[in-house]
């Protein structure tokens, strides 16, 4: 590898590019194979079995996506508008704290909400004891409904819209608004006619991220027993033993994902030229007075409470009571074991992915057009549900496994080689690679992009060789970016549910799986401990985001585009 880097660096197209192409091919193979498999599969079978059964699933998915998209659009944009256009008490705090719900995975929020608000839950119980009500005496919305599911997903996903809308509003130049004032428009009119349309590409980008998360979600929808396409794939593969349907559904999901990715890249391109006018001074915030002031504070506080403080407090209360008095019959001793599993898996995956992503980034450093293609290709794995990736990996790995197993049993009379790949951490790592290479690549690419090629030239003129350039100049410059990338991948792996579920070695548990299984079985107190662990680790990237979230005056564009990338 060292030789390859030395020879092809930096004008190189040769060895490093080939290596990069190999990495790319490896990451795309499962998805490609899946497409082939689906296309040549037994289609009538799908029609008999699936199509009629598919319609409710499709409409379910659509209802969920529309509901969550509407909710997050309104909530995220409204909050972003409040904190960027107005001044009110504690605004600076809300500005950052409203990022926090990003740390809570949907399936954790889901079980906490159901447990809190169901008939037997603390909220309704308290109401009954206060007012002496019995069942049927009062109206209380049922939380375990599609409405409840939409509410839960809206509360965990609105930060995507909030983050991008906020960045968009912050980037807007005050001269845009001032020009409108001189033309006779009031501030509110200017906001509606200029501010919102200008922020729209970024708001829609955030909304697309919400849609991706919603259609790829497995844990939350299955907890709410709400069958969506993504959930159906797992059920078909795992429980109904109907791989054909799973593969065909995966193809459908990939089609949807590719379409949405195309829309997203259009939106990002448009957002870029909307920002092209260099912003002079920033928009000044209007001091809110009277009722509006307290309405703004109350609204921000309510959302923060509902989306973060309430679920996390409940988890803490459960965890404390579980530690004091462990639930009988549920094994808690294994907590350390599956936590270790999670950490090791996430750390190895993060390291592996960032190394490969860096090689990919170096291989494509010379050509910007190549980079945008790689960015698109690697993001497909992230845009499709984890279940699709898992099915793809299994479809690739199974046929390789069989002959190996046969070879060992037939020729060497050794049975220990059975399923060398399938159901091992190797297949699991492969799954993570396919799914999260895009996340790693974006970090690697954007950190490498900050190093202008003329820096390399300057270093070479002063006599530095390729390794010296990489070690003494590139390494210190990309270090932070790579660390951020690793943290993002680490946390994503830790939260990943469906791919782990399908690809894990038999009996292997992780924090996410344990949380999910325990919560499905109703052991909320016990589930609270791994759930809280996931939330705490999930806070790490959110804290980083909170630090860079403010586009500073000098490096406004650079920083904010990084903010956008970190969300993905």
């Amino acid at each position: 590898m060292g030789v390859m880097l030395r020879r092809s660096f930096p004008p190189g197209i040769t060895s490093l590019s080939i290596l990069a192409a190999g990495i790319l091919a490896l990451a795309l193979l499962p998805l490609g194979v899946l497409v082939v498999h689906a296309v040549v599969s037994d289609w009538p079978r799908w029609e008999n079995n699936g199509l009629t059964g598919l319609l409710p699933t499709l409409s379910n998915t659509l209802v969920l996506v529309v509901g969550v998209a509407t909710g997050t659009l309104v909530l995220g944009t409204l909050l972003a508008w409040l904190v960027t256009h107005f001044e009110f008490p504690m605004r600076r705090w809300f500005d950052r704290l409203l990022f926090l719900p990003l740390a809570v995975p949907g399936f954790i929020m889901g079980f906490v909400y159901v447990a809190l608000f169901e008939y037997a839950g603390p909220v309704q119980t308290t109401l009954r004891s206060w007012f002496g009500w019995e069942r049927g005496d009062y109206f209380f919305p049922d939380i375990a409904t599609p409405f409840g599911l939409i509410l839960v997903l809206t509360l965990v996903l609105y930060p995507y819209v909030y983050l991008l809308a906020r960045a968009a509003f912050l980037e807007q130049a005050s001269s845009t608004y001032e020009a409108a004032y001189t033309m006779g428009y009031s501030r509110l009119q200017a906001t509606f006619r200029l501010g919102l349309p200008l922020a729209l590409p970024q708001i829609l980008t955030g909304l697309l991220l919400v849609v991706f998360e919603t259609i790829t979600d497995y844990g939350t929808v299955s907890y709410f027993s709400y069958p969506t396409l993504s959930e159906r794939i797992i059920v078909s593969w795992n429980s109904s033993f109907d791989p054909t349907t799973a593969v065909q559904l995966s193809l459908l999901m990939m089609g949807i994902a590719l379409f949405l990715l195309a829309v997203e890249s259009r939106m990002r391109a448009r957002a870029r030229f909307y920002q092209s006018a260099r912003a002079g001074r920033r928009l000044n915030r209007v001091e809110l007075r009277g009722a509006g002031r307290w309405l703004a504070v109350g609204f921000c506080a309510l959302i923060l409470l509902a989306a973060f403080v309430l679920p996390v407090s409940q988890l803490v209360i459960w965890a404390i009571s579980e530690i004091r008095q462990p639930t009988v019959g549920v094994l808690q001793e294994t907590f350390l074991a599956y936590t270790a599993n999670s950490f090791v898996l996430a750390a190895v995956a993060a390291g592996l992915i960032l190394v490969l992503a860096m090689l990919l980034a170096y291989g494509s450093r010379a050509a910007a057009s190549q980079r945008s293609w790689i960015r698109r290709l690697t993001s497909v794995g992230y845009a499709v549900p984890g279940a699709v990736v898992a099915v793809g990996v299994l479809v690739v790995v199974n046929p390789i496994d069989a002959p190996i197993t046969d070879f060992f049993t037939d020729h060497l009379s050794w049975n220990g080689a059975a399923y060398l790949l399938t159901g091992t951490t190797l297949a699991l790592m492969y799954g993570y690679l396919v799914r999260f290479l895009g996340v790693g690549y974006k970090s690697a690419e954007s950190s490498l992009e900050q190093i202008s090629p003329s820096i390399d030239s300057a270093a070479k003129l002063s006599g530095a060789g390729a390794w010296r350039i990489i070690w003494r100049i590139h390494a210190p410059l990309v270090r932070t970016g790579l660390a951020v990338g690793m943290i993002l991948v680490f946390v994503d792996v830790m939260k990943e549910l469906p791919a782990t579920l399908l690809l894990r070695p038999f009996g292997m548990d992780t924090l996410a799986l344990r949380t999910y299984f325990l919560s499905v079985e109703g052991w909320h107190r016990t589930a609270a401990i791994p759930a809280l662990t996931i939330v705490l680790i999930g806070l790490l990237p959110v804290l980083i985001l909170m630090r860079v979230g403010e586009p500073s005056f000098g490096s406004r564009r650079g920083r904010s585009s990084r903010t956008g990338d970190e969300v993905v």
């Binding site: 409108a180 001189t182 033309m183 006779g184 009031s186 030229f273 006018a277 260099r278």
Partner: protein, 343 residues
């Protein structure tokens, strides 16, 4: 009070976070006049412009536009009710609207057929008809500038404000745009306040110039007036190169190392006079009192630094075809009355 003033500022003061930016500033702009606010960066000229537009509220003093008080004495008219056209330094074009859309935006609320006609008139006036459906990012810098101008003028304001509008253009385009803006302003008959730090630009376009220093207007007048008779050495230097020479005045003349020079205004006593380099002529003379020490050639002209036998250095600007060698002895003559520095 003159009712026909387009803009009238009276003792306007503005501070930002305790730092005074505009002090006690008074200013009058007559109809169909282009007034240039000239000053170095940070002198408060942009703030003055924003105070007129209503984008900033003065701490004290009052502002009248077309005889109506818009600010001061408990009165405040918001910028959206002032009906002023403004061209911003960064143009502030709306990137999501076409050229026509940008211009039309400034006509908000008016009848559609009227708007279409006005937009077309402005496109024609600024030579943008073929660019009507383009988006701002598809335009060159000069074209963006024209859109900003068309947008500022479309609603027929009596007053147009320019905030260093040409600072993002290259020198050649800047000269071209100056001509164009002046011509268009004359055609529509609007008064304008134009902020710049470039004295050449100011002289070129101004009907009147107001020179600002540290938040105050230090001198107002016709371009030629302020150039020839600056109120201070600082103003003189800001407007161009200048030699400061001591002398003894007696009425219409002043006795200096250059001999007896005619004075622009009669004065007596020990004074300092300002001599612009281009008013000095050099003659080769073996008995002259000056020695050529340095020549800098600019093409059509050149500057020549000479040293008097007393050690005083002066600069002269002469045509490019005259040749003077270093060390040559010369005599100097001044072919215009010189300005005395008072105060």
């Amino acid at each position: 009070m003159e009712v026909d003033a387009v803009v009238r500022l009276e003792q306007v003061t503005k501070s930002f976070e305790g730092t005074p930016v505009v002090h006690d500033l008074s200013l009058t702009l007559l109809p169909r006049t282009l007034l240039v606010l000239l000053g170095s960066s940070g002198c408060g000229k942009t703030t003055t412009l924003r105070l007129i537009a209503g984008l900033e509220r003065p701490d004290a003093g009052s502002v009248w536009i077309n005889g109506t008080q818009v600010s001061g004495g408990g009165v405040w008219v918001a910028p959206n009710d002032r009906r002023i056209g403004m061209v911003f330094q960064d143009y502030a074009l709306f990137p999501h609207l076409t050229v026509a859309g940008n211009i039309d935006f400034a006509l908000g609320g008016r009848e559609k057929s009227l708007r279409q006609a006005r937009v077309h008139d402005m496109l024609a006036l600024t030579g943008l008809v073929s660019r009507s459906d383009y988006y701002p990012h598809q335009l060159s810098g000069g074209e963006q500038q024209r859109v900003a101008l068309a947008r500022a003028l479309v609603a027929s304001p009596h007053l147009v404000l320019f905030d260093e509008p040409f600072s993002n253009l290259d020198a050649h385009l800047r000269r071209e745009m100056r001509e164009e803006v002046m011509q268009i302003l004359r055609e529509v008959g609007a008064a304008a306040v134009f902020v710049t730090h470039d004295q050449e630009e100011a002289f070129h376009i101004a009907d009147r110039i107001a020179i600002m220093q540290a938040g105050r207007i230090v001198q107002t007048g016709l371009p030629g007036e302020v150039y020839r008779f600056p109120v201070s050495y600082d103003v003189a230097c800001f407007l161009g190169e200048v030699n400061e020479v001591a002398g003894t005045a007696s009425g219409d003349e002043v006795e200096t190392v250059l001999g007896r020079l005619p004075l622009a205004q009669p004065i007596s006593g020990d004074i300092r006079v300002l001599i612009r380099p281009e008013t000095i002529a050099l003659n080769r003379a073996a008995d002259g009192h000056f020695t050529v020490v340095l020549t800098r050639f600019f093409g059509h002209d050149q500057t020549i630094t000479v040293r008097h036998d007393s050690g005083l250095r002066l600069e002269a600007r002469v045509w490019g075809h005259e040749t003077f060698a270093q060390g040559e002895r010369v005599s100097l003559s001044v072919h215009q009355p010189v300005a005395a520095l008072t105060g």
